[in-house]
Amino acid sequence: MLLDYDRMGWLRVALLCFTTLVAAFLLLPVVFIVLLSFGSSRWLAFPPPGWTLKWYQELFADPSWLEAALTSARIATMTALLAVLIGLLASFALVRGRFRGREILRGLLLTPMVLPVVVFAIAIYAFFLRLGLGGTTIGFVIAHTVLALPFAIIPIATALEGFDKSIEDAAIVCGASPLEAKLRITLPSIRIGIFSAAIFSFLASWDEVVVAIFMASPTLQTLPVKIWGSLRADLSPVIAAASSLLVGLTLALMIVTALLRRRFQT
């Protein structure tokens, strides 16, 4: 009876209450930060004595915030493009290839997801210092693509595993070249996987803190580095304003994802 929602009695009430509490716990910081960004207290008193937009004005008056956001967007977009492209090619080999050591190679390509980022961060920092790539956009994109690759491979490979390969073979038998069949039959069929891969790898770069802290230079810093620096200095409400905009962006991304998924599935 423990897995019958309609026949659980008091246990259901207890579990529902607990679930509600946990959902509230998960929501608390997100809602709190948005409310705080409109509060008038510089010392983050809550509930705030009054409401204001001045932290947003301060945020937009300081060009370094916008600059950091644009840098992040640029690096994350390039990372997502590269990771999806490389991940797509790799997924075909990992899912369909019949060669020795396939599982080992799959494991190797997914390792950046498991290894603590701080280890990779100091390794790539030292490596790029030697190559002269430290603090450059290319350096950032390469390092972030390494970290994003597993997040691109997993959804694409999963989608590809669920795709019936005989449809692609049928197209080839009907006269399409293997490449044509992949581009016109297979890719459209696994687009949800490709789309998820793009979102996950974008977020992997956009949110990345640790590598960015090591790689950043005074002239090139991403948004997380900018927030990190401000957090270490003080808990200014301007950070709450910047954070709220990021929450808004997350919500927008979630809505777009949900809408696209619905369209893909019907």
Partner: protein
């Protein structure tokens, strides 16, 4: 389709298959494997060739404390996360879909919100004059503000918050795969709800709990951001110590040796997880 055609399609795919793996292998080989190996080399050559960095790390009480702290925090975070996640995953697995999708929405929103944003919120919420201390004092539960930040309490709260989605989401899958009939059968045979839970539901969901728990433990071991911001100086964790050795002390030998110890422990646990659940399931949760 004739056997001939099948065979020709198969052979056509083969060389292309391996070749398309090349960009990924070059990227990971050149910019992941080589730098990490170079780091390992540094740990046994700087300042002089030998294992003195490792003996310094493993023989010193200060460093031993950091290792102990790291394992303690990771263990506590894992246990709390499992205990909180299980009932939620249980409900999510059987709830009406409309209700469940609201909870899933909240989980995704929290998971996708910028990591620093979430940590910043906890820094403000948990500080001495923060909302939580004020609410507790106003309600008369405590007279003095509780020290909730710059200590292990702060780190645990912040880490559990971040790890919960990683535990809940795979567990829902495990619980959904359990056939409700097995529990109905248990009830028909006279098992009390508690017996049914202990003898059937819990054992059947144990693989999911073990896999998720191990993942949370491994992630917590190497976590940098949250412990650095919510923890105190007296109970530093390993990742923060490594970053400090490199960034502030410029001690590359010691820093890379500590990084390598973290790498070995993490990889050993990861291998254990692969053994437990198989390669696909272990990494399929993202």
């Amino acid at each position: 389709m004739s056997v001939e055609t099948q065979r020709s399609i198969a052979t056509m795919r083969m060389p292309g298959g391996l070749g398309s793996l090349l960009p990924a292998l070059i990227l990971i080989g050149l910019f992941f494997v080589v730098p990490v190996l170079a780091l390992l080399l540094r740990s046994v050559t700087e300042p002089a060739p030998g294992l003195q960095n490792y003996s310094a790390l493993l023989g010193d009480g200060t460093y031993a404390r950091v290792f102990f702290n790291t394992f303690l925090v990771a263990a506590v975070v894992t246990i709390v996360t499992v205990l909180v996640a299980f009932p939620v995953a249980w409900m999510l697995a059987i709830m009406p879909p409309a209700l469940a999708s609201i909870v899933f929405g909240v989980i995704i929103l929290s998971m996708w919100t910028n990591l620093l944003t979430r940590t910043y919120a906890w820094m403000v919420l948990l500080q001495r004059t923060g909302v939580i201390n004020r609410a507790l004092m106003a309600s008369g539960i405590i007279d003095q503000p509780l020290p909730l930040i710059n200590n292990l309490t702060g780190v645990t709260i912040g880490m559990v918050y971040i790890m919960l989605p990683f535990m809940i989401l795979p567990l829902v899958g495990t619980l959904r795969a359990i056939d409700p009939m097995t529990l109905r059968a248990a009830a028909l045979c006279g098992a009390s709800p508690f017996q049914a839970f202990r003898r059937i539901l819990l054992p059947l969901s144990l693989p999911g709990i073990a896999a998720g728990g191990l993942m949370v433990f491994v992630m917590s071991l190497g976590y940098f951001v949250t412990p650095a911001l919510l923890g105190g100086t007296s109970n530093m964790m390993l990742a923060e110590m490594i970053a400090q050795m490199i960034q502030s002390l410029l001690n590359w030998g010691l820093g890379s040796a500590a990084a390598f110890i973290l790498l070995v422990v993490t990889m050993a646990l990861y291998a254990l997880q692969l053994r437990l659940v198989g390669a696909r399931r272990a990494t399929g949760g993202a």
